[in-house]
């Protein structure tokens, strides 16, 4: 807890409190895995109960989804670059890549919201059938995480500009990068087990 600074480590690992926070966040990610697994289980059980409503192949537009996937994949990469440059103590490059990450995330979110609006116009709402309820809640939970991540990232950018790179800001940066990569992992599974599966069947 006390500020015993160990300078041989990367900034984000230098203080005891930082190491506690990072471990704590990893464990939180374990909980997030369970949370999304539950949503996937729900989708796995309900995903074929169309109740006379639209089916996945009726509504999914794979091109849009592919663009969303690429945006998120790239943002995960740029986020990794931001952390890479943080470890080089290159604040400027770090910020540039981090803001690019943010913009890509916002782009993803924009595409996803557009996709949802499109579905609703087709008459596929979350009240239509069990399939659509589980679809919207799984996707919506992921989307809400991305939104939360973007707001959080903006707060962090402000703090970075105010305070520069310190062990505390570096730790926050590192933790948000874990969060962002994790959201990409979740998206990979959504892409595979929701969209691609829907196209196969």
């Amino acid at each position: 807890m006390s500020a015993n600074v160990n300078h041989s480590l990367p900034l984000e690992y230098q203080t005891e409190q930082n190491r506690l926070n990072i471990l704590g966040f990893w464990i939180f990610l374990g909980a997030e895995i369970v949370l999304f697994a539950t949503l996937f289980a729900v989708y796995g059980v309900l995903g074929h109960r169309y109740a006379g409503g639209p089916t996945p192949s009726d509504i999914f537009k794979l091109n849009d989804v592919l663009i969303e996937t690429l945006l998120l994949l790239t943002s995960s990469f740029t986020c990794g670059l931001a952390v890479f440059f943080m470890r080089q103590r290159d604040m400027k490059k770090m910020l540039v890549w981090f803001i690019i990450t943010l913009l890509l995330g916002a782009g993803f979110l924009f595409m996803e919201i557009r996709e949802f609006i499109h579905y609703v116009h087709e008459g596929a709402t979350m009240q239509t059938s069990a399939f659509l309820s589980s679809f919207f809640v799984l996707l919506g939970t992921h989307g809400a995480h991305v939104t939360f991540g973007i707001i959080w990232a903006i707060m962090l950018v402000i703090q970075l500009l105010q305070r520069g790179l310190t062990p505390v800001t570096a730790r926050k940066m590192f933790i948000i990068s874990l969060y962002w990569h994790f959201l990409d992992v979740v998206w990979i599974f959504i892409f595979t087990f929701v969209y691609l599966k829907g196209m196969v069947a």
């Binding site: 190491r19 909980a31 289980a41 009240q127 962090l156």
Partner: protein, 658 residues
């Protein structure tokens, strides 16, 4: 904003009007009292904003006592209603609400805060830490739990109680069959409290992994710390499932989705599946810390180290692992086929193996020991035979084919009360009598404690033993009445009488707290029980920084061996360094208030108001993000002063055993 304020209070029933008046009077009395004695500032500084794990633990325990009272009242009302056949004391609706709140409150708002409270008080001390890993998060955990508990508890006077059972099975709990907002309370209040619990789990995993005193390897940790650690892991693995299940329930009830509905393709059994995926691990979340408490108490009062420490640890890990793969035994009768039922029968019965190992280890800890019958030890002793009855009936229930005849009968109800009351409530009492001097610096009265013990255990057996036989005779749970011809009447009457004895036992406990608070001797030693683990090495009550110098641990039962070597109270003042401590924060309390308000509006389906209130949550998060307060240092002088006071009176204090 969409709420019909004139309909908000539940009326009509004199019992309810009475409670409403009582609640208002109590609140007025508290407000007037605080103002008169000028205690608002004290309350805010010392309690509402505290991040001290010991104070948070005490607040958890206080909530537990309060909720035990509420849940116990519900239990007594149920017993009164079923004491005679065809009684009209409560109608069906009222009875349904009461057994629902009884279940929810006893598991989530009584057992959980008691155990998490004890964990909070004891675990950092046992591992020689200054606090938990994330003190402010810990405060947030408590306040969210408290907010959820309060939101749930107002349901019976504001808007109507949930009435679909503590399991809230769909489709009954859905809007198709339960139109009242009572079940919204269930979904939302439990969600808020559950968030707090999840954070507690993360907090304790990190605390135990990273903040142990030098030399304390994992296999030198006290057993209560071990069980807390494994419990926290189960919390992190299981609570997100509940979070999702409750969220889906909220969506179904508030936004018309079709997860668990009859219509449009929903699956009601999916709720049962998700509920028990969380619900079964939840049982172990409350049982495992209790096992830890018994391990500490039995070792201390047998004056021996725990027998088979390694196999104890292995069996806890085994139980944690198995707890995740037994959930279907709660609904064998849904007919998922013999293959599924066989698999879950086997995994369920296997849990008996590590549990049996623990029982024998406790027995052999006592063998060759010198068993001292303190009140704490009496609870631990009574636990063994009573829990064995719960355990063997559990194995009988685990056999899926046999369960077809027990399911949903009072046999099942008797079984789980025989597991949860000896396994949790006895443990809580044992832990409270044992650690009370550590928390408050005075003992609970041992003589009153023994009255409490005998009344409670006898009452417990008289209440629940008849239920086994009632179940075998065909009496089902949750039925508000039964016919005179059924032949259930004599046993139900015995059970009702037992519940009164049980209640008197609890009343004696409350009186004991009052009596001891007023009259108990204050010069209690820092180690009144001649105990074994590190928490007894520091002052009673514990100074806010826990340890002036963090001790070095060389083996299991570290403090015991230090005493043997005679090196406990020697503190070289030159070793004292300034101590870094976290600052108090009002943010957790603020968050609990906005969460509570948001939850309240959501319960009443006032979506816009809820959204507005939710902005308050976001504001709280932003404030937290920009909070760079890094705590403060306690000066060496202050530490020296504090240490001298309690170490000086050492000669004049009393050891209660020896």
């Amino acid at each position: 904003m969409g709420i019909k304020w004139n309909e908000i209070f539940v009326g009509g029933d004199p019992l309810l009007v009475g409670s409403q008046i009582a609640i208002v009077l109590t609140v007025v009395a508290i407000v007037v009292g605080l103002t008169y004695f000028k205690k608002w500032g004290w309350l805010w500084r010392e309690w509402l904003t505290t991040v001290d794990h010991k104070k948070i633990g005490i607040m958890y325990i206080l909530s537990g006592v309060l909720m035990f009272f509420r849940g116990g009242m519900d239990g007594l009302l149920m017993k009164a209603q079923t004491a005679r056949p065809e009684m009209n004391f409560l109608d069906a609706q009222h009875y349904n609400e009461i057994f629902t709140t009884h279940g929810v409150i006893m598991i989530l708002f009584m057992a959980m805060p008691f155990l998490i409270g004890l964990m909070n008080v004891v675990v950092p001390l046992q591992i020689g830490a200054r606090d938990v890993a994330f003190p402010q998060l810990n405060a947030l955990s408590f306040w969210l739990f408290f907010s959820g508990a309060m939101l749930f508890n107002i349901s019976f006077v504001v808007g109507g109680s949930p009435d679909a059972g503590w399991t809230s099975y769909f489709p009954l709990a859905g809007k198709e069959f339960s139109l009242g907002i009572g079940n919204n309370y269930y979904a939302i209040a439990l969600q808020i409290a559950g968030l707090g619990t999840l954070m507690t789990g993360i907090n304790f995993i990190v605390t135990i992994l990273k903040m142990r005193a030098p030399g304390m390897t994992l296999m030198k940790m006290p057993m209560f710390t071990w069980t807390t650690f494994i419990t926290s892991i189960i919390i992190v693995a299981a609570f997100p499932i509940f979070t999702v299940a409750l969220a889906l329930m909220t969506f179904d009830r508030l936004y018309g989705t079709h997860f668990f509905t009859l219509s449009s393709g929903g699956s009601d059994m999916l709720w049962a599946n998700l509920f028990w995926l969380w619900g079964h691990p939840e049982v172990y979340i409350v049982i495992l810390p209790a096992f830890g408490i018994f391990s500490e108490v039995i070792a201390t009062f047998s004056r021996k180290t725990l027998f088979g420490y390694t196999s104890m640890v292995v069996s806890i890990v085994g139980i944690a692992f198995l707890s995740m793969i037994v959930w279907v035994h709660h609904f064998y009768t849904m007919d998922a086929g013999p293959a599924v039922n066989s698999f879950f029968s086997i995994t369920t019965m296997l849990i008996a193996v590590p549990t049996g190992v623990k029982i024998f280890n406790w027995l052999f800890t006592m063998r060759k020991g010198r068993i001292q019958f303190t009140t704490a030890m009496l609870w631990a002793l009574a636990f063994v035979p009573n829990f064995v009855i719960g355990g063997v009936t559990g194995v009988m229930l685990a056999m899926a084919a046999a369960d077809y005849q027990y399911h949903n009968t009072l046999f099942l109800v008797a079984h789980f009360h025989y597991v949860l009351i000896p396994g949790v409530v006895f443990a809580v009492f044992a832990g409270l009598y044992y650690w009370w001097p550590k928390m408050f610096g005075f003992m609970l009265n041992e003589k009153l404690g023994k009255y409490h013990f005998w009344l409670f255990t006898i009452g417990f057996n008289v209440t629940f033993m008849p239920m086994f036989f009632l179940g075998l005779k065909g009496a089902v749970r949750r039925a508000y009445t039964y016919s005179a011809e059924s032949g259930f009447a004599p046993l139900f009457l015995v059970s009702a009488i037992g519940s009164i004895i049980l209640a008197i036992g609890f009343a004696v406990f409350c009186y004991n707290i009052y009596w001891s608070f007023r009259y108990a001797k204050r010069n209690v030693s820092h180690d009144p029980w001649d105990a074994r683990t590190l928490e007894w090495m520091t002052a009673s009550p514990v100074q806010f920084y826990n340890f002036a110098v963090v001790p070095e641990v060389k083996q299991l039962d570290a403090f015991w061996h230090m005493k043997k070597r005679g090196e406990t109270l020697t503190l070289k003042e030159s070793d004292i360094k300034k101590i870094h401590m976290p600052s108090n924060s009002g943010l957790p309390f603020y968050m609990a208030v906005v969460f509570g308000i948001t939850g309240f509006f959501l319960v009443f389906e006032a979506h816009i108001a809820a959204a507005v209130a939710a902005i308050g949550i976001v504001i709280g998060l932003v404030i937290r993000s920009f909070d760079y307060n890094d705590g403060y240092y306690v000066s060496v002088d202050e530490i020296k002063r504090t240490e001298r006071t309690w170490r000086n009176v050492e000669g004049g204090t009393e050891n209660h055993v020896g």
